[in-house]
Every structure is written in structure tokens, then in C-alpha cells.
């Protein structure tokens, strides 16, 4: 059975790129367009890894990560930040709320795949 990855991003292009790239690498992908959807899908499917954009409407990546990490059912899922916020302070902030990795946009497909492989 293939590994499942939850991808949350409000930009449909980026969502498409990541989804297609991961599917091409043999992962099952759940798509979320905002933080709330991400939290729901995480609880519903308990994926093996979550790729989370930080700035999203409805519920931000930060809030979603805090919610997922606070829920005992989902707290074990490794979360990798995926964000256009590339300043050192942004990355530190993400670490503080519990992300396990961080990829800055733009990224190369191979880079994303290799990071994910590291956690699975």
C-alpha cells in the first residue's frame, strides 16, 4: 500500500504541481485548499506526512499545524512547511510551532520528493 501525503496550499497551480509530482513518485495525495480543510482531512485520513503552506485563507498554516499537533490522533504525523516566506525568522517561527521540515518556494520537484522520502 502506497504512502499517503496531505498537501495544503491555497494556490491551485502549486497544489497541482505538488500533487502531480508526488503521484508520479507513487504517493497517494489528499488535497486541501486551506487550513480548516487540512485539519479535517488529517483527522479523517491520518496521512503519513503533511505538506503545509503557511499563509492560507480561512485558517492559516500555523493554526492548522497547531490544531493537528494538539490532536492526539494526528500529533504523530510529520509536517513539512512549504512556504514563500523564506526569511530566517519565518523558518524559526515554523520550527517553534512544531514543523519537522521546511521547504521554501520556489522548489524543484526532486527536492520535495527527497525531503519527503527522508521522513517516510
Amino acid at each position: 500500500m502506497s504512502k499517503t501525503v496531505l498537501v495544503a496550499d491555497d494556490d491551485p497551480d502549486i497544489l497541482d504541481i505538488v500533487t502531480m509530482s508526488l503521484e508520479a513518485s507513487g504517493y497517494d495525495v489528499y488535497r486541501a485548499e486551506n487550513g480548516r480543510e487540512a485539519v479535517q482531512l488529517a483527522r479523517q485520513h491520518v496521512p503519513d506526512l503533511i505538506l503545509m503552506d503557511m499563509m492560507m485563507p480561512v485558517m492559516s498554516g500555523h493554526e492548522a499545524i497547531e490544531a493537528i499537533k494538539a490532536d492526539p490522533a494526528t500529533t504523530h504525523i510529520p509536517i513539512v512547511g512549504l512556504s514563500a516566506k523564506a526569511m530566517a525568522t519565518d523558518i524559526e517561527l515554523a520550527r517553534d510551532i512544531g514543523v519537522d521540515g521546511y521547504i521554501t518556494k520556489p522548489f524543484r520537484i526532486a527536492q520535495v520528493v527527497s525531503v519527503i522520502e527522508g521522513y517516510l
Binding site: 494556490d11 497551480d13 502549486i14 504541481i17 505538488v18 502531480m20 509530482s21 508520479a24 499563509m55 514563500a84 516566506k85 523564506a86 526569511m87 521554501t104 518556494k105 520556489p106 522548489f107 524543484r108 520537484i109 526532486a110
Partner: protein, 645 residues
């Protein structure tokens, strides 16, 4: 300024009187010299007479006379020195007593029994000189001589016999006339001498008296000065307590009006920070309307000198308009003083005086000193206020700059974010196309998409470099320094450039001495510097060239040479190679990629570490970029260095 003024007003007292005193002293001394000369001549004359008597008839009386004359002559010496030392009064008294004593002895010796009578004539002369005016002794001497001569004449002619006048005595009769002659001459000489002495004494007394008066005068001047100083020091204390020019002016006006006994006063100074550029202080009945009217009528211009001016109308009845206006308000006179610092005029103060007596010289001098001091104090305060304002402005400017800096940082962060999002799509899709996820592409399509991807990545590098540079410039880049082994650093960097070098057939070699010490650097930033220089070296070196990294210890630093056999940089371009967005040959650089910020960042990073970077290059022959990094010092070494340094 104040001190100078005080000195100037006190000064005339001393020297002004000094020449007169010296004059009197000269006269007294001359007079004494005359007396001493007279004594010397007299003693010489009597001595000669006594010696002649002695040789003609050696007896005890003549011998005593000779001795008396000798003492008389010798006594000139101590009197001379006493007179030279200036103690004239003492000299005069001593001289009169000595002379009287000697003359008495002399007369007794020459006159025998008659001497008592002679003394009877002699003492009135001496007493007259001591008790009456100097000329009295001349008159008494003349009178006594006349009386003595008359009595002798009467007796000689046998008209009257006064046994007590002349008598026969031990002298032979033919000497009578001579004795009488000598005595008469003696009376006159003594009269002359005592008169001169008395005159000298009188002059000396007069001089003493005037010296005394002068001392009194000086004492009273000192008292005035003292009072002025006390007023000044009181005022200074008041002045020092104040922190604003307005408060100070109010207080000072009170003090100054007190000194002059003025019930109404006002002052006006220019102050760039005050409302309307002017500070006014008023006291008593000086209403704003009065102050304004007098100011408009030019009361300030009445203070035409440095010192305060008392303005009470002129003899010809023509009064300045301001004084006329003050009279209409019921005042009799004005005292106007300038207020100024050493450098600039500030304004003036004006005291309005009613019917009280005029302001005396002493008070005027105190006013002068106080207004001088007030000017200085206000000047200082205004300077301080100006400084405070300047300081505030600087603080505001600084806050603004800090705010602008924050805005810039915010802007850079936002810009970075906003550019990254579309770039993600560009790079992501082209990456997907190239990886064949959307089917295979022909060669042309592959070339085009590769170009999109490469340029997208160039844009990303540019964004990263700009962010780096902004951070360095804002001073927000903090180095995490540690001991870094250069060999290890190169091992991390070389694999990144090796593929590209291998592609171009470029030989990359490193020459590091075995005893190279660790350097004091942030490992990530040192990597960035090395990577940047090595990427450039590979980029600008033709196929089959070579790139080398060498290092050596030099003067507390490690000097690292990154040398290539590339295209080199012309001398005229070497200056600006480290500037931003500088690429020497733009046509060739387009194909080489790069943001034009790499060397600028490299230079900033090296300098942030306390090192320096330079370039040696010849066009067509290759380039060497040489940078230095401080050698790592253990804590012990640092302590030792601080102790010795």
C-alpha cells in the same frame, strides 16, 4: 565679561592716587637732605671754632665742645639712613631732641654761667617749631636774637645792668662780643634748622593723613565691591536654579530692580524657540502696553554703551521719545541696560524709576555686573536649549530612519514572498515538463523550457542575493562564529562546483599547508564566500583551464587565494568589480548567468568577519581573488592578548 567690568570700575581708585603720594615723599626727602646739609655745615663750623679755641687755650670746656660737635656731625649718618627708609616723623623728633641736647651742651660749655640764660632763649625757638607753624620758629629765633643782642648792647653801653644776661664768666672780656656773636648766630641757625625740620615733619604728617584718607577711600570702594559681589553671587544662585530663559529673566529682573530700588521694570530678549521669537518679563506697574509702547519708541536703543545708561532728560529739555512716554506714565527716569552674550546681542532691560533719588555709582556698577551676568546666563541657557532642540530633532530623524528601515525590511520580505509565489509555478511547471510528466517534448521544446527554468532560478538567486545584501546593510546579519577548519569547509564546497568544472574540463586543485590554523568565522557564511568565488572562477575560465585554492597564515589572519586561468579583468574595471550589479562584459555575462550581486555580498561578508578582499588580475591571463579571515583564538589566547594589549 562681568569680571572685566567689575575690574574696570574699581581700577581707577589705586593708580589715580599713587602719583600724588610719590610727589609728597620726594619733597619730604629733599627737605631732610637740606636739613642734614645744614647740620653738617653747622657742626663743621662750630667744630673749627672749638678746635681754634682749644689750641689757643686748651681747657676742658673746649674739649667737651669738640666732642659734642663730633657727635653732632656723626649723628647725621643714622638720620640719613632713617630718612632714606622713609620714617620721617621719627627722624624729625629724634633730630630735634638730639640737636637740642647737643646745642644745650655746647652752649653750656661755651657760655659758662650764662648758659642757663642762653638756654632760656633757645628753648622758645625749639618749642615754637614743635608747637606752632614752621615759620614761627624763624620769627621766634629772630625775636630772641634781637632781644639778646639788645640786652647785651644795653649792658655793654652800661645803660642797664642785667647780670643774668651776659655776665663776665670765665672768658676774657675781649671774647664777650665774639661769644655774643656766636650765640646770636646759633639762635638764628637753630631757628632755621628747627623751622625746616618742623616743615618736614608737617609735610610728613600731611602725607600720612592723605595716605590714611586714601586707605579709607579704598576700604569703602572695597566695601562697595564686596556688596556688589554678594549681590552677584546671590543672583548667580538664583540664575543657576532656573532651567528656562523665561523663568530666569523673571527672577533676574526682580533682583536687578531690587538693587536699583525700581518698582517697575521690564526686559525683552530675542529667543528663537519662544512664541513670537521674543521673551518678555515684566515687574510691578510695567504693563504689557507700557512695555510695548516704550519698546516701539526705541527704549532699547538708549543703551548705547556696554554699561547701563541712566536716562533722565537733557539740560536743553529735548528728551528721547521713550523717556517722554515714560514721563507720561508717571516715571521720572529710565535705566536701560543691554543684555548680550560675548557673541551676540540678546535684548535689553529697562527700569522705570519714580521720584526716588538717582541711582548712585555703586548701584549702577552692580546693575552693570548683574545685567552682564544675566546676559551670559541667558546665552548659555539658549545654547543649551538649542542643543536640546537639535537633540530632539536628531532623535526624531533617527526614529524616522529606524521606521524607514523597518519599512524597507518589511517591503523586502513582502517583495520576496510575492515574487516567490509566481516563481514557484514557473519553476514547478517547467520542472514537470522537463521531467516528462506531461509527455515527451522535442528538442526545441526542451531547450525553451530549460531556458524558462534557468531564468526562473536566476530570478530566485537574485531575490535571495538582494535579501542577503539588505540584511547585511541593515546590520541584521549576525555571524555565528566558531573555529572553522578551512580544509573541511573546502570539502563541503568543492563537490558543488566540481560537476560544472568537470563538464568544462577544468582542473580544480587546493594547496593548503598542513599547519594551517582554524579560522574565526561563521561556517555557513565562509562557505557562501568560497562557493561564490569558486563558482565565478569556474564560470569565467575557458575549457581545460585550471582553478586553484591556496591559503597561508599572514599577520594574525589566514589569506586565501582563489586563482583561475580565466578571461581576467581589465585594470580599469577592477575598481568596480565589488560594486553591486557590476558585470564586466554584459554580453558574455548574460550567457554566464549570475545576479551581479555575488561579489558585493562576498565583500560585505568578508568585511563583516573583519577581513578584507582584493583582486589581482590581468586581462586574458586569469584572476586571483585574495581574501583574509582572522585566525581563531582560544579563550586563553584572547585573555593573554587583552592583558598584554
Amino acid at each position: 565679561m562681568v569680571e572685566r567690568r567689575v575690574a574696570a570700575t574699581v581700577r581707577p581708585v589705586g593708580p589715580g592716587c599713587t602719583p600724588a603720594g610719590r610727589d609728597g615723599e620726594m619733597n619730604a626727602r629733599d627737605h631732610f637732605t637740606d636739613v642734614l646739609w645744614a647740620r653738617a655745615i653747622l657742626s663743621l663750623a662750630v667744630l673749627i671754632a672749638a678746635v681754634v679755641f682749644y689750641f689757643r687755650d686748651p681747657d676742658t670746656e673746649s674739649l667737651v665742645l669738640i666732642i659734642a660737635c663730633g657727635v653732632f656731625a656723626v649723628s647725621n649718618v643714622p638720620f640719613w639712613s632713617l630718612a632714606r627708609n622713609g620714617s620721617h616723623a621719627a627722624t624729625c623728633t629724634a633730630m630735634v631732641v638730639t640737636d637740642a641736647a647737643l646745642i644745650t651742651v655746647g652752649v653750656i660749655c661755651t657760655g659758662g654761667v650764662l648758659s642757663g640764660v642762653a638756654i632760656f632763649y633757645l628753648w622758645p625757638i625749639i618749642l615754637a617749631s614743635l608747637l606752632l607753624a614752621p615759620w614761627a620758629s624763624y620769627l621766634v629765633a629772630a625775636g630772641v636774637s634781637l632781644l639778646y643782642g639788645t640786652l647785651w648792647g644795653l649792658e655793654h653801653l652800661g645803660i642797664a645792668v642785667t647780670p643774668s644776661t651776659v655776665g663776665t664768666g670765665p672768658l676774657p672780656p675781649e671774647w664777650h662780643a665774639q661769644t655774643v656773636g656766636i650765640r646770636l648766630a646759633g639762635f638764628l641757625l637753630i631757628g632755621l634748622m628747627t623751622g625746616m625740620l618742623a616743615r618736614a615733619l608737617q609735610r610728613s604728617n600731611r602725607r600720612l593723613h592723605s595716605a590714611n584718607e586714601r586707605a579709607e577711600e579704598q576700604l569703602s570702594e572695597l566695601r562697595v565691591a564686596n556688596r556688589r559681589l554678594r549681590a552677584l553671587s546671590d543672583a548667580s544662585r538664583v540664575f543657576l536654579r532656573r532651567t528656562s530663559a523665561g523663568e530666569l529673566l523673571d527672577d533676574a529682573l526682580h533682583e536687578i530692580a531690587d538693587v536699583a530700588g525700581a518698582g517697575a521694570a521690564f526686559a525683552r530678549i530675542d529667543d528663537q524657540y519662544a512664541e513670537g521669537g521674543v521673551i518678555m518679563a515684566r515687574l510691578g506697574d510695567a504693563t504689557p502696553a507700557v512695555a510695548r509702547r516704550l519698546t516701539d519708541l526705541g527704549v532699547g536703543e538708549l543703551a548705547s554703551t556696554d554699561s547701563p545708561v541712566v536716562c533722565e532728560g537733557r539740560a536743553d529739555g529735548v528728551s528721547p521719545p521713550a523717556l517722554t512716554a515714560a514721563r507720561e506714565e508717571g516715571y521720572q527716569r529710565l535705566v536701560v541696560a543691554r543684555l548680550e552674550t560675548r557673541e551676540r546681542p540678546l535684548g535689553f532691560l529697562c527700569l522705570l524709576l519714580g521720584t526716588q533719588p538717582a541711582v548712585d555709582r555703586e548701584r549702577l556698577a552692580t546693575l552693570d555686573a548683574l545685567s552682564g551676568q544675566l546676559g551670559l546666563a541667558i546665552g548659555t541657557m539658549q545654547s543649551m536649549e538649542a542643543l536640546r532642540h537639535l537633540n530632539d530633532e536628531l532623535r526624531r530623524a533617527n526614529e524616522e530612519l529606524t521606521h524607514l528601515d523597518e519599512l524597507k525590511s518589511d517591503f523586502m520580505a513582502t517583495m520576496s514572498h510575492e515574487l516567490r509565489t509566481p516563481l514557484t509555478s514557473i519553476i514547478g511547471y517547467s520542472d514537470m515538463l522537463l521531467s516528462g510528466m506531461a509527455g515527451t517534448m522535442d528538442e526545441k521544446q526542451t531547450t525553451f523550457v530549460s531556458s524558462i527554468l534557468n531564468n526562473g532560478e536566476s530570478l530566485l538567486n537574485l531575490i535571495n542575493d538582494i535579501l542577503d545584501l539588505t540584511k547585511i546593510e541593515a546590520g541584521k546579519l549576525e555571524l555565528k562564529r566558531e573555529a572553522v577548519d578551512l580544509r573541511a569547509a573546502l570539502l563541503r564546497v568543492l563537490p558543488v562546483i566540481k560537476p560544472k568544472a568537470a563538464e568544462k574540463g577544468i582542473k580544480v586543485s587546493t594547496f593548503l599547508p598542513t599547519e594551517l590554523p582554524p579560522v574565526d568565522a561563521d561556517p555557513n557564511k565562509l562557505n557562501q564566500v568560497l562557493l561564490n568565488l569558486l563558482t565565478n572562477a569556474v564560470k569565467y575560465t575557458q575549457e581545460n583551464g585550471s582553478v586553484s585554492v591556496e591559503a597561508r597564515r599572514y599577520d594574525g589572519q589566514v589569506e586565501i587565494w582563489v586563482t583561475d586561468t580565466g578571461i581576467g579583468i581589465a585594470r580599469e574595471d577592477q575598481e568596480r568589480i565589488f560594486q553591486r550589479f557590476t558585470q564586466i562584459d554584459s554580453s558574455s555575462t548574460r550567457s554566464q548567468g549570475g545576479t551581479g550581486l555575488g561579489l558585493a555580498i562576498t565583500k560585505e561578508l568578508v568585511e563583516l568577519h573583519g577581513g578584507s578582499i582584493r583582486l589581482q588580475s590581468r586581462l586574458g591571463k586569469g584572476s586571483s581573488f585574495i581574501f583574509t579571515v582572522p585566525v581563531w583564538q582560544s579563550v586563553g589566547e584572547r585573555v593573554a592578548e587583552t592583558a598584554t594589549g
